[in-house]
């Protein structure tokens, strides 16, 4: 039985890629991952989404469209709640239903990770493996292997970033944005690349020790219960003293960000902050001008500090 599973390179992919890819590889399942977002994928996403959805979910729809005729199953897991104060945006609750209602012929492969419904991560992966016709023993092995790979990769990324923070004396800017925006080459990519062009080192708020971030986030907001926003708030608290400025990148109209960014701008003082809202309109001139002037300000501030 050679079955091909398609993974859209959007949203949860950027959180779970190491986990998913290794899990499927260990179980010897063929996978195909959609390419980096490009204009065509985005256009298709716009075509198949409700107008008012957020840009990130429109990109996701574009990737699903791309995979539609290239695989047998499309992998769209539902991750709702992973722990106390660790919920996801409601968008993730209904992703598979949106796809199911939009592309009626698409077959969806999913798992449901929702601790409120007694669906722990391990249970969710077990369900997934059984759907693929594997034995519980195989699944458990693959899950532990994938989990280990994920931890290793996370640690590698964290170490690399810490090294940069210690030894790099260029201007440093903290990028605060959901992983699926930062690492998408069409969404957050242009911002990151432009910063590098300006000889600025980008530091990423989502590459952070998870436990520490979860604790530190309370300094900005005690109550916030979105897992990814909590991680970002924690990232700000951990890194803010070691960077020169903060860039908040948001896709329009992100629900959790609308409130979380308000808290950030109100609670984080003494650090220049700029908010960049991205939408589906092309044209990076506005973004470039704003970042350029922001970096100019940071450079002046830094020069003054050295003189003092």
């Amino acid at each position: 039985m050679s079955m091909k599973v398609g993974i859209p390179r959007a949203l949860l992919y950027f959180k779970y890629r190491d986990m998913w890819i290794n899990f499927f590889r260990k179980l010897e399942i063929d996978i195909v991952i959609s390419p980096q977002t490009n204009r065509e994928i985005l256009n298709n996403g716009l075509k198949y989404s409700i107008d008012e959805s957020c840009l990130s979910s429109k990109v996701f729809m574009g990737h699903v469209e791309y995979l539609r005729d290239k695989c047998d199953l499309i992998f769209i897991p539902r991750v709702a709640k992973t722990g106390k104060k660790q919920e996801l945006c409601v968008k993730f609750f209904g992703l598979s239903d949106i796809v199911n209602n939009t592309f009626s012929e698409v077959k969806i492969l999913d798992y449901n990770h929702d601790v409120d419904k007694r669906q722990s991560e391990m249970k969710a992966y077990l369900d997934l493996g059984l759907k693929l016709g594997k034995s519980p023993m195989q699944i458990l092995k693959a899950y532990t292997y994938a989990f280990k790979c994920k931890l290793e990769k996370d640690k590698k990324r964290l170490d690399k970033q810490n090294e940069l923070l210690l030894f790099d004396d260029k201007l440093k800017v903290l990028i605060v944005s959901h992983s699926y925006n930062t690492y998408d080459e069409y969404i957050g990519g242009p911002v990151v690349n432009y910063l590098k062009e300006l000889n600025v080192t980008p530091i990423f708020a989502d590459i952070v020790d998870k436990k520490l971030a979860n604790k530190e986030a309370n300094n900005i907001s005690e109550k916030i219960y979105w897992a990814y926003n909590r991680e970002l708030l924690g990232g700000i608290e951990v890194y803010k003293d070691r960077v020169d400025g903060i860039i908040l990148i948001t896709t329009f109209p992100c629900g959790p960000d609308s409130l979380a960014n308000e808290m950030i701008t109100k609670r984080v003082k003494n650090k220049p902050i700029i908010t960049i809202i991205l939408d589906e309109q092309d044209g990076s001139a506005g973004m470039i001008t704003r970042i350029e002037s922001f970096i100019d300000i940071l450079q002046i501030r830094k020069a003054r500090k050295i003189v003092k």
């Binding site: 959805s53 968008k91 949106i98 449901n112 916030i224 219960y225 409130l259 109100k266």
Partner: protein, 357 residues
Amino acid sequence: MSKQKTACFPQIANYSIPVDMYVKNVLDMKTITCPMTTKKTLELGSKHSPDYVCTPFKYSLGNYIEAIEIGADTLIIPAIGCRLGYYDEVQKTILEDLGYKINMVNLFEHGNNIMGIYKLCKTYNPKLKIKKFIKTLYLVSKTVIYMDIMEDYIRKNIGFEKEDGKMEKIYQLFLQGIKKSTRVKHVKKLYEKYFAMLKEVEIDKPENPIRVGIVGDLYTILEPFGNCNIEKHLAKKGIEINRPMTLTHMFGELQNEKLLLKQSGKYLKYAIGGNATDSVAKAKMMAENNIDGIIHIKAASCTPEITAMSALQNISNDYKVPILYFTFDTETSETGVLTRIEAFHDMLIMKDLKEVR
């Protein structure tokens, strides 16, 4: 002894009456009714809110500011679920930044089960006896149920009144009456009296009137100012309005996710957050009951309802029911809404004629 606190609940239809009852009796606070929502309230709310937050945030923030100006120092919020659950901390921060010293009480701070609610009441009113707590809960839920039954009757018949405004007048009298009640018996008596009066109001209802169902996010369907009085405009056209989603409903069925998913059939596999699962379930149910048209209303950028829309489109196709979608933000003009309703109404009439032929 510390001064008694003055509490305020934002304007959501007439539901501040039962909430006030609750706050007075179990939280031991004075209550104040916030000034009626106006365009000015909206401007005030939007000015201090994040740009693209969902609309109820802006409405309630405006309500709160106006209430603080007339003396409220404690703000009541039922923060639970979706984005609403995080409103309280952000609104508190914004208000404190504006220089107001206020206290925010989240009715569901310790969860939405009975023990959680009791625990919250105990923190604010340590002297509270469990007997009084249960009694008040009973009183409040009964009041809400009576209100909803009457409102449902009014919605279905107000469009066919012979003399305009009679039902509304009777209902207002009922509301004035229950404001002072402290006992279920009293509320029940008033309900029986005024409901009988409502039923006596002469109506001129055809046998098969045009029936339209309304679904959408809870705040926007409940608060007339939030939906540009859409129900009133529909009634004026002589339309029977069906709206199964009420506050009563929120206590009961809305908690039962499994039932809602079953009702949604093939259109939903998982709960999609907020009360959008319910929107889909109820839309499907109404479509099965041969309703003439459905109107879906939501506040701007309401994520769960946007998810629901993809399912609603399929319901519309499968059952051949026209669905009209509305998004309300602070800039929506009533005239625009009216024009779209008129066109929708005309279309329903034409569809009706075609089917008769």
